[in-house]
């Protein structure tokens, strides 16, 4: 398999690689956003717990 030929995609390089790049971007965004959504909620919950502990002691 010729690497140059592979990247050229039979003349469709621009279209194919843009599509795959965009897909990677969207998947990464979803990964990041979902992670962040969960992590933020966890941090907030932890902080609330600490505050509750402080108040009770």
């Amino acid at each position: 398999m010729d690497l140059k030929e592979f990247f050229e995609m039979g003349g469709y390089a621009g279209y194919v690689w843009t599509s795959y790049g965009l897909t990677a971007l969207i998947l990464l965004w979803n990964w990041w956003a979902a992670r962040r959504s969960e992590a933020e909620a966890q941090t907030a919950a932890r902080r609330r717990n600490e505050l509750a502990l402080e108040r009770s002691s």
């Binding site: 398999m1 039979g10 599509s19 795959y20 969207i26 969960e38 909620a41």
Partner: protein, 243 residues
């Protein structure tokens, strides 16, 4: 039949824990499958007899188009369950689906447009499938906008659930309306199970990619849903141990 398992599953602490242990499995499996399918689709699968290597866009376009509709159905079913049986967890799940579905819809539109340019000769045509997919994106955006405009989470849940259900009735109508209005998109190939019109060597990576996207969806929903549960249950006792 006993429904205890159901109520147990729908209880927030339980769901939180289960989703937490499921998510990594979904995550790694989807990563492996998507990478495998990408390699298979880009390298191993042969070029198409008409579209050459350009057809390889199929492997990202078709799965995202499929996921855009799949996610809407999941969202609407969750919204319906939440509305009828008043299960908060179902509402939270519907909320978690919306941004994921919207992003897949956008991806399907974008990759379709990129594919359309060399093959059809135009970036965009007002064709049936394209137009209904665009309207699906608007439905997702409307759903998220409605949800975001309420301060009270319970009202947001129930109002957006009504909208999701109205939308699910309207989606087939939209689909058929644009179908007769203008058409250039080819008919679906994979749903014809009697004799798939995609060659097997090209079909395998497509299926791998679709399963990979499904698992990825499972991962993303689990993560988002865990976040939603924590936000909604901020005053519950069980959180003190979990967090």
């Amino acid at each position: 039949m006993s429904w205890t398992w159901f109520h147990k599953l729908a209880s927030p602490p339980h769901a939180y824990r289960i989703l937490g242990s499921l998510a990594p499995w979904f995550g790694w499996a989807s990563l492996a499958l998507i990478l495998l399918a990408t390699w298979w689709g880009l390298v191993k699968a042969p070029a198409d007899y008409q579209q050459g290597d350009g057809f390889r866009i199929l492997y990202v376009h078709a799965p995202s188009a499929w996921m855009s509709m799949f996610t809407y159905v999941v969202m609407a079913v969750a919204a319906g369950v939440g509305l009828v049986w008043r299960i908060k967890l179902a509402h939270a799940a519907a909320a978690a689906c919306a941004p994921i579905g919207a992003s897949f819809t956008f991806l399907a539109l974008a990759t379709g447009s990129i594919w359309g340019k060399p093959m059809w000769g135009t970036w965009w045509v007002w064709d049936a499938r394209l137009t209904s997919e665009l309207l699906l994106l608007f439905l997702y955006l409307g759903y998220m906008a409605l949800r975001a405009s309420f301060d009270d989470p319970q009202r947001a849940d129930r109002a957006s659930a009504v909208l999701a259900l109205v939308g699910v009735i309207n989606v087939p109508i939209i689909h058929y309306s644009v179908n007769w209005w203008s058409t250039l998109h080819q008919p679906a190939s994979v749903t014809k199970f009697d004799k798939p019109s995609i060659d097997l060597a090209m079909l395998i990576p497509l299926f791998l990619m679709i399963i990979g996207f499904q698992l990825y969806f499972g991962w993303a929903v689990s993560r988002r849903l865990r976040g939603e549960i924590l936000r909604r249950e901020r005053n519950a006792n069980w959180l003190k141990e979990a967090a």
